[in-house]
């Protein structure tokens, strides 16, 4: 596979990875207030993911892939709400360890990186187009 072709594949792998990251952010934000449903039960545990370099066998290009989809092990929050179904004997409810501020900045970074990959895809497409124009 020549360089111009693999530009598209590399950019697409980047877009896929950033898209997945954005999905995880959306899941975390959506579940920011999810608690357990029985007394003392654990609430939603924030999801995390990491990126890793992946060498494509066909082209030798270094792409990116997602590795280590995991859960954030940081401690849960505690709210005093004795009327809540998940409240323990002392009246405390465990809340999800999601920090909206962190998720927002994560989202911003993911969408910017997605955009950068998209621009790269477009640049590769334009270069291929210029080669094809030589045939005219």
């Amino acid at each position: 596979m020549d360089a111009l072709k693999s530009i598209g594949a590399v950019a697409a792998s980047g877009m896929h990875a950033q898209g997945e990251r954005l999905k995880v952010v959306a899941e975390n934000v959506a579940n920011a207030d999810s608690t357990g449903d029985s007394p003392g039960a654990d609430p939603y545990q924030r999801k995390t993911l990491a990126f890793e370099e992946l060498i494509d066998r066909d082209s030798g290009a270094s792409m990116v892939r997602i590795t280590a989809l995991g859960r954030d092990q940081s401690p849960f929050g505690r709210d005093y709400d004795p009327a809540h179904p998940a409240a323990d004997a002392e009246g405390f409810v465990k809340t999800a360890n999601v920090n909206p501020l962190l998720e927002m900045s994560n989202m911003r970074e993911a969408s910017r990186s997605y955009e950068a990959n998209l621009n790269m895809f477009e640049a590769g497409r334009r270069m291929r187009g210029q080669v094809l124009d030589l045939l005219r």
């Binding site: 980047g14 990126f51 890793e52 790269m120 334009r126 210029q130």
Partner: protein
């Protein structure tokens, strides 16, 4: 008549080959902009590609001669030691810097492609007498 043996077309196509390889490396850098421990990469200079193709190691005048181990004019991928900064996870890719390079390469590619096309037009002009 081989177009690639005319130095003009050879140079233009080498330039396009080099720019394509550079753009691929930029795409890899951008895709891995958030990969922990990833170091930004760059390619060897265009001058190196042209010189390597010209000298090509040792010139041979007989079929039995050994061609020598000189590099055959390929594009080498090197680590980019001019990256602007290092983030805390050991990643040295700066999106702004890479975007800047990608634009520059895109413009140069257009220039090389248009030059190649111009060369064709000149040949057509010489053969047909009209464009």
């Amino acid at each position: 008549m081989k177009l690639s043996s005319m130095s003009f077309f050879q140079l233009a196509s080498q330039r396009m080959q080099w720019l394509g390889a550079s753009q691929k490396v930029i795409a890899e850098n951008i895709a891995n902009a958030d990969t922990p421990g990833f170091k930004a990469r760059d390619v060897s200079s265009f001058a190196e590609l042209v010189d390597g193709a010209r000298t090509g190691g040792v010139t041979t005048t007989h079929a039995a001669h050994i061609t020598g181990g000189g590099h055959s004019g390929g594009v080498r991928v090197t680590s980019d030691d001019r990256a602007w900064e290092n983030s805390i996870d050991g990643n040295s890719v700066v999106l702004e810097q890479q975007t800047l390079k990608a634009n520059e390469i895109g413009e140069n590619y257009q220039l090389a492609a248009q030059l190649y096309g111009k060369g064709h037009q000149l040949l057509t002009l010489a053969v047909v007498g009209q464009r």
